[in-house]
């Protein structure tokens, strides 16, 4: 390798090497499943082989009921879809508040 950045920590441990990749934020927004069955977020440039989307709940879990469960997530080209319940179900779903983070980890 001939280009790039190399950094060391105080103990002299190599932290970032010239061939290191870092997580670049692409999308970072608050959402809530309360009152919605689902929605799709458009994220230009998002591809599942080079990017990843994560659900970060923003409140502590208060019970073990469906309303406190994680939303159902699918990741596709250009978009991420969140459902309050598994596909095909008509019953109670998640109502959690969360932050959706999408990151790129490869060019």
């Amino acid at each position: 390798m001939s280009f790039g950045l190399r950094t060391w920590n105080e103990e002299g441990v190599l932290e970032m090497d010239t061939d290191s990749f870092t997580y670049q934020v692409m999308y970072n927004q608050l959402h809530s499943m309360d009152g919605v069955n689902g929605f799709t977020v458009q994220i230009p440039g998002f591809t599942p082989d080079k990017c990843v989307a994560c659900i970060l709940p923003t409140n502590p879990q208060s019970s073990e009921f469906a309303t406190e469960a994680m939303p159902f997530i699918t990741q596709g080209n250009g978009s991420v879809t969140l459902l309050s319940r598994v596909a095909g179900s008509k019953d109670i779903g998640s109502k959690v508040a969360f932050r959706l983070l999408a990151m790129r980890f490869r060019n």
């Binding site: 390798m1 001939s2 280009f3 790039g4 950045l5 950094t7 920590n9 105080e10 103990e11 441990v13 190599l14 932290e15 970032m16 010239t18 061939d19 290191s20 990749f21 870092t22 997580y23 670049q24 934020v25 970072n28 599942p48 990843v52 989307a53 994560c54 659900i55 970060l56 709940p57 923003t58 502590p60 879990q61 073990e64 009921f65 469906a66 406190e68 469960a69 994680m70 159902f72 997530i73 699918t74 990741q75 459902l83 309050s84 319940r85 598994v86 596909a87 095909g88 179900s89 019953d91 109670i92 779903g93 998640s94 959690v96 932050r99 983070l101 990151m103 980890f105 490869r106 060019n107």
Partner: protein, 229 residues
């Protein structure tokens, strides 16, 4: 970008620049527990609006234990720690962790610090960007095993198989809670890194007469290294 720093490596990948925030490690340590819940307090609160990303490396000697809950304590702008709960009262969660956010903070008295156009810190030598190792958000259903007194454990393995390095971790937040079943009930979901097959595994606990849906979507399987830990 009209000013600042941009580092591009041989692969044409932008390692850091003055425009885009990077996921930066703020605190790290080990966790252990005297019950089935491990409690960690950060040395100083994390002050970002968003909850930190908690990366963990479950101890190889306790690799069979499944974690079914992550609770981040504190509130927006003042995250003080986290708790990890194992899915069985006899389990004792143990391992290593680090907490990362999309904003750096002034931690170091030497090295390099980068600010964005609004004066926010993007890079600091004491809170370096997290190093990407791999990520995969697709899962394959494997079947079910008996969980004594709890019904059955229906389990999936992540489609990416690779050894977990000594200083490598996976992101716990996507597995903070259980999932919704088709009939609107809550099902516990546990996650672990299986060192035998070198994969992330998730188990959903349910009664066989009311099993979970096979398609569990794409919860993020995401790995990162924190060198020197």
């Amino acid at each position: 970008m009209s000013y600042g720093l941009k580092v591009i490596n041989d692969d044409n990948y932008i390692q850091i620049d003055s425009d885009t925030p990077r996921l930066c490690a703020i605190h790290n340590g080990t966790y252990s527990a005297g019950s089935n819940t491990a409690i960690v307090t950060f040395p100083t609160p994390i002050t970002t609006p968003e909850p930190p990303c908690i990366f963990i490396r479950n101890a190889p000697e306790r690799a069979g234990e499944l974690y079914d809950r992550l609770t981040i304590t504190g509130s927006s702008g003042n995250w003080t720690g986290f708790q990890i709960r194992a899915n069985n009262v006899n389990w004792r969660p143990a391992g290593k962790w680090f907490a990362a956010v999309f904003a750096s903070q002034a931690q170091s008295t030497y090295g390099m610090r980068l600010w964005d156009a609004n004066g926010g810190i993007l890079f600091d030598s004491g809170a370096t960007p997290v190093i990407v190792t791999k990520s995969n958000s697709t899962w394959s259903y494997q079947g079910s095993v008996t969980f004594p007194s709890l019904g059955a454990g229906f389990y999936w393995t992540n489609n990416l198989s690779a050894p977990l390095a000594e200083d490598e971790y996976f992101l716990m937040n996507p597995f903070s809670r259980g999932v919704v079943n088709r009939n609107g009930t809550y099902l516990s979901r546990g996650v672990r890194f299986n060192y035998g097959n070198n994969r992330l595994e998730m188990y959903i606990i349910a009664f066989p007469r009311n099993p979970p849906q096979i398609d569990q979507g794409n919860p993020a399987g995401l790995f990162a290294r924190l060198p020197g830990t």
